[in-house]
Amino acid sequence: MTLPKQVRFLPLGFPLTSWAFAIRVWLAAIVALYVSFWLPLEAPSTALITVAIVAEPTRGQALEKAVFRVIATIIGGAVSIAITGLFSQTRDLLLIAYAGWMGLCVYVAGLLDGNRAYAAVLSGYTVALVAIQQIDNPGHVFESGMMRGAGILIGIVSLTIVSDLLWAPDRHRKLVEQLADIRRRIGNYAKSAILGETTQPMESAALLAEISALRPEASSLMFESSSGQARSVAGDNAAAALVAQLHAARSLNVLPVTADKATSERIVRALERNEGELPPPTVVWRADPQGDAGTTASLAWTLKEILRRDEQVRQNLAALRTDGRPPWHWRPLIYRSHRAAVEGGIRAAIWVALAGMFLVYAGWPATSTSLAVIGALVGLGAMTPNSRATTALALVAAPIAGLLAGLLEFVVLDGVDAFTLLAIGLAPLVIGAALLISLPNRIVSALGRFILIFAVTIFSPANPQTYDGQSYVIFFLLTCVAPSLLLATQFLVPPVSQERRRCWMLMSAREEFAQGPSRDRRDEPEEEMFRDAVRIGQILSAGGNAPNNAETIEEVLSYFDQSSILRLCDDKLKVLAGGPLTALAEEVRASFSKHEPQALRAASQVLCKASPSDHVVADLPAALMVASYHIEAALGRPIHLGEAA
């Protein structure tokens, strides 16, 4: 018997969840606009733009973005007042100070991710929207900042209330699904490795990149509800445990022995368990009397490690579902490339300064609007891997948004002053753009957001609406001039190329590996594994279709494998400090930076003989053996020296 095919209802090709999101955005926009007109605010469009920017499909993400938007606006407002107070009489110095501040903010954004990076760049371009917009009227900067703050708060409150009342989905359910899917795929990877099948390095790298990309999602859970903090901790732990499980599975590739058939089947069955099932019985390893004891012990330890990590993932996924608080917290560290951040900051400052100089000497009216848009585009571009592509996308969106704004103002509304008609007239624009924002394709989603923001900026809703054709044309042209001018400066001073970023990241991985585990290491090995996974994700993203990307990935994966196992061994050795094996532990730790497999194997044997039944050192000899196999495997792999040149 065949089951009837499930039919999904997709009005105009969009799922119902996208329609629900788009209608929520439209309602929030109308509420924000109504309150702004009623108060009345100087620039009601700020509230509307806030709704357009903060609009995210789930409550947690929207609230997190909103909180960071408020913090960044306060910082940006304070800096606007300081810059205006210092340089209000000297226009050129004011522009230089603004360019320098933008550079600093882009540098900070380069060291952060998610909405924290957004807050950094927003602190930068708030100065453009508050101080630079009032360049001819510096006495009005404080009021302008307050009005902007009020507009932002109204936009946030409107969106929060509408999202709460209209059942906006929570992020944690989707995150559980994503993490469970990655767990299933890592389980499949581990099964292939256990059964001795070939595994691809790019597959591991893609999994690590996918896990590390969930870091901002897990942190946004904190804002979702009163259980948000516990959920966020569970999400962080599950992600870190997944990275550690993948590392353990990759260790099987370098071991010289494979498990026997019965054991393999038992482990595979254990990995196939669902989250609700009972934990597996302890793996009992039957040592092969013919084989090398150290090798079989290392295989047994690795298999036990895979199951232990899988159990940690299961526990944290269960905690995420049931709002339970996990008993520990692994902070998901991120990889920070100061060099890339500094270069990005310097370039951002140069772009703003060059564009500012051009606009000053052009002498066009109301060019402060263009300068403000340029600041916003520089900031938003800094959050994406390719800032020039972001500017090009804005250049495509600006004329479309201008035409839509003109259509709305002079054809649809055409002189009406009733709020209900304005609300109905805004519906196609806001709902249409929100539908695009909800799409999974990042380019189309960004295009939808740009169109909505630019259209609202050009339309500039006011009470009463002026319907001034000249003002519309000037705003339209200046909004189009901003991305064109920025794109020209970005061709003159190009952004840091992906190839260079990849080289820097590879070099940093090499340097860290060469130094070995630091003596005063304060982070947990799982946290550092996660940071390495973030770097691998960034290298994978920067590599694109580069011909040597596969080799680079293979090399950084090798560093990831070796560094992670050495850190795990280092942690176990720290436990021995102060005991009878202190001297031996110190000797083994000193040998880590030499990367000699024979030294590690000798240390493993000495530890086994010194304290064969001590539970404190039970796993250490096996872990040291695994580390020696990882190093041995790396020594047989060609090093791509040309990469770091």
């Binding site: 409550r59 709460d164 059942w167 906006a168 509800s225 009163s226 259980s227 903090q229 516990a230």
Partner: protein
Amino acid sequence: MAHTFRELVIGGVLVAPFMTYAVTALFVVLLIRPLLRFVGFLRIFSNAAIAELSLYVTIFGLLVLFF
């Protein structure tokens, strides 16, 4: 007797009483979050988001009424 609302003055800038109450209510809600989690507040309601919003509005209303 009619309830009088005092304006908060920060560095010569007058802050509307509405804002003071709104921010105070937000802090109170954030402070009682661990307690809400402990008593399983979210599990009592089918729509936890509306319940939390209503709690915020209630605290805000009580602050306006008694302070």
